[in-house]
Subunit: 456 residues, 2 copies
């Protein structure tokens, strides 16, 4: 098979122009006024997939925005790769914070600015261009390829899992590739091999039946906001550990090897502290910052509401107080188990004089890759060849629920192969994607297809 | 001097009709659309004051709504009483919860329903009718009388204190009478001889510079909502006492006599608990419910706000958390002293990783009457004569800032002589005033004028 690198070099400028056209379509899935644009993005993709040389490409309706499915199965006996991406984008607001308009992509300093440039249009479109290069140069792909490109990722993928389950035989594959994450630092290719899970709860504390005057009643009526604060204050001990009984039961110990790998990454606490803008960092004693973010479970308050919150003084003794409390989980914690432990512990903390209601709002399992699978060696080799540098294995403190859905439904390993650079404003104004990473990422994917095909 | 009681009995029906006309004027001070009605209420009062026989009555402009000032000084050598009341009312909303419209007064079961019926039009108008009775029967009052009736009480009396200070010589008097409080129970005449003070603070906790993703950052960044909860949780000990160092320093001990007086009132915890609708009562150990409400200082959270408070789950690690925290104070605590103690203690509680800002929003001194002054004996005797029952001395857990302003500016004792019954919905829909109390209150005031005049 001939090398695709030269082809990609030659067509680089056109490939960038195509990406700009893609980013210019305001396919905001969260807003009904953009519905026609979301559909237009799906149709546009189908044309580009067929142009690139995919055998089929179709817009598959769902109850929400459609999924684009595209296949090329001309390599019998070779492995089958499944690529997942999404063509929908986050809403662009606040508009006045954008230097150039969100849907008028503009290149400045080697960065393509525009909503969706990095999340996920730019990262997804690399796969189309890698396919185009292979088909143009060799007339075929070295592997069988299925692409599933959804239009509802930014609204929580409500229809994806059932679509996968219904089509699990059709989508049987050897590995799933997702490029929707980031690199640890510029020039440092990265494979994300761990995600935290989530147990997100709402805690509602009710004191008196209605709001009371704090002068006439204060002192004899248990204040639900104080009761709530007391509960929250008891959820951590003085060492920064979560006090819920059994919370750490399922947590896999951190191996010395993992610890060394993390410690070897180019990272300083002081830079991180400056990035977040806190006066000091904190967290569970005995662990470094990246360990706290990646391999340790944690509990945060995401929201608090009680009584009067406007300007000035209102002398209300509130009837109710509410907290949103979420826990990030790590392998092998189980979110339903944690929900139960949270619920029974919080109930035990509630003082007399109030009643509590606890609702589980959202949950997801933690995930970590099994790097023993050959796909990880191939990805690492392709990254090294494209970037000229050994890739690092990183984790992400957040959750990507569809990763588990792919792994479990299709029983195939998932590789998170991301090219976003730190600070690329994925859900914020002035989102950008490094055009160098767009080029190197496309090259990585083209090389990866060769490497996987060579195993066939 | 001839007895006024018969006159009051004979004219009772007309006096009720006049009160209805007063209540029908929607003098809502908080809403600019009612501005003309507020003015109309002031003009209407001037006419009624002159009709009743007051020598002068004038509408005195302020920067806001006007004050009505009326005088009768035809008793040289006799004591001078100053009456304070207000002709403005609370907004009537929510309108759909009123059984009869708020400004179409209606009598049901001996109660006059309408906005302002008890707060304060009905209680204020009794003074006009007592004056009318004296002038009609005897051609004169037994005392000199000044009435100050403001139109901004429900918006915090922003112009009253400066008006008093400017006119302190004109308003020099022997005692101030205010009928804007309540009776402890039906048929139980009550003098309110204590009010709690207030120190109302806002506490703002700042963690990171901006909101962060709780997945990507949770565990290594100190969460300001958790820090705030931790601070609030430390403001009380396990005995329900406020932990601010020196908080109780100024608190006068509760005398055995006070304790017995309070214990003798017709009150049960269970009825109170049912009224507020809490699963159980609480508060400072070692004190009963009325003691907790009246003679003990307390600390309440009036509001909490942080992060995401809408429906569902948003994975935000908030940048900020805010609490409104107010303390009710008792004699001889000083609100500025308490503000300082709160501020330095809360600063000492803030963990590393956040910064705190503390703002004092509103303050007022606690107050208690000096019942040794002869006016209290006269008021008690008049109440006993009108109601046929010995009055009780009660306190109120809330604050009435103008009480201190009158006492200090005019250097005269203030008597809180209220006739509202429990549950009369002063700031709520279906506000009502007992017509029996309207009659007995008017009789009380007419008798009181005689008793004070007899001392002259």
């Amino acid at each position: 098979m001939a090398d695709t690198s030269e082809y990609l070099r030659e067509h680089r400028e056109r490939h960038e122009e195509e990406l700009k056209r893609f980013v210019a379509i305001p396919s905001v899935s969260a807003r009904s006024e953009y519905q026609a644009d979301v559909r237009r993005a799906a149709d546009w993709l189908v044309e580009r997939l067929l142009e690139a040389g995919m055998a089929t490409a179709e817009v598959h309706p769902t109850e929400g925005h459609p999924v684009v499915v595209s296949e090329w199965r001309g390599a019998p006996g070779a492995p089958t790769l499944l690529v997942y991406g999404h063509y929908d984008v986050q809403p662009p607001e606040p508009l006045d914070e954008w230097t150039s308009p969100p849907f008028e992509p503009e290149v400045r300093d080697g960065k393509l600015y525009g909503r969706g440039s990095v999340d996920d249009k730019g990262q997804l479109y690399m796969y189309l261009k890698a396919v185009e290069a292979h088909i143009a140069v060799n007339g075929r792909l070295p592997v069988n390829l299925v692409m599933i490109i959804e239009g509802e990722e930014e609204i929580g993928s409500p229809n994806l899992e059932s679509f996968l389950v219904e089509n699990r035989e059709r989508f049987a594959c050897d590995a799933v590739l997702i490029s929707d994450t980031g690199m640890f630092a510029p020039g440092l290719p990265s494979i994300t091999n761990g995600l935290r899970g989530l147990a997100y709860m709402e805690l509602r504390v009710q004191g008196p039946a209605g709001d009371l005057h704090s002068g006439s009643y204060g002192g004899a009526v248990v204040n639900p906001a104080i009761a709530l604060a007391g509960i929250i204050a008891k959820l951590h001990d003085e060492h920064g550990r979560v006090t819920i009984p059994g919370f750490y039961d399922g947590v896999l110990p951190l191996s010395e090897e993992d610890r060394k790998r993390i410690a070897a990454l180019p990272f300083t606490d002081e830079e991180f502290r400056e990035e977040v803008g806190s006066p000091a960092l904190g967290g569970e004693e005995g662990f470094g910052t990246l360990e706290r973010l990646w391999v340790r479970p944690t509990l945060d308050v995401n929201g608090l509401l009680s009584g009067y919150t406007g300007e000035g003084a209102k002398t209300v003794l509130p009837a109710r107080a509410m907290a949103k409390i979420s826990m990030r989980l790590v392998p092998d914690q189980n979110y339903r188990d944690i929900e139960e432990k949270f619920t029974s512990y919080v109930r035990s903390l509630a003082p007399a004089g109030v009643s509590v209601e606890i609702v589980a709002l959202h949950g997801g399992e933690p995930w970590h890759a099994d790097p023993a699978h050959s796909i990880f060696q191939d990805v690492a080799a392709a990254l090294k060849e494209a970037f000229g540098k050994e890739p690092v294995h990183i984790r992400e403190g957040g959750s990507i629920p569809i990763v588990g859905a792919f792994e479990q439904t299709l029983n195939a390993p998932v590789v998170l192969l991301g090219f976003a650079l730190p600070g690329s404003n994925a859900h914020a104004p002035n989102e950008w994607y490094s055009l160098e990473n767009y080029t190197l990422g496309t090259k990585t994917i083209a090389l990866l297809l060769d490497k996987v095909g060579a195993r066939g």
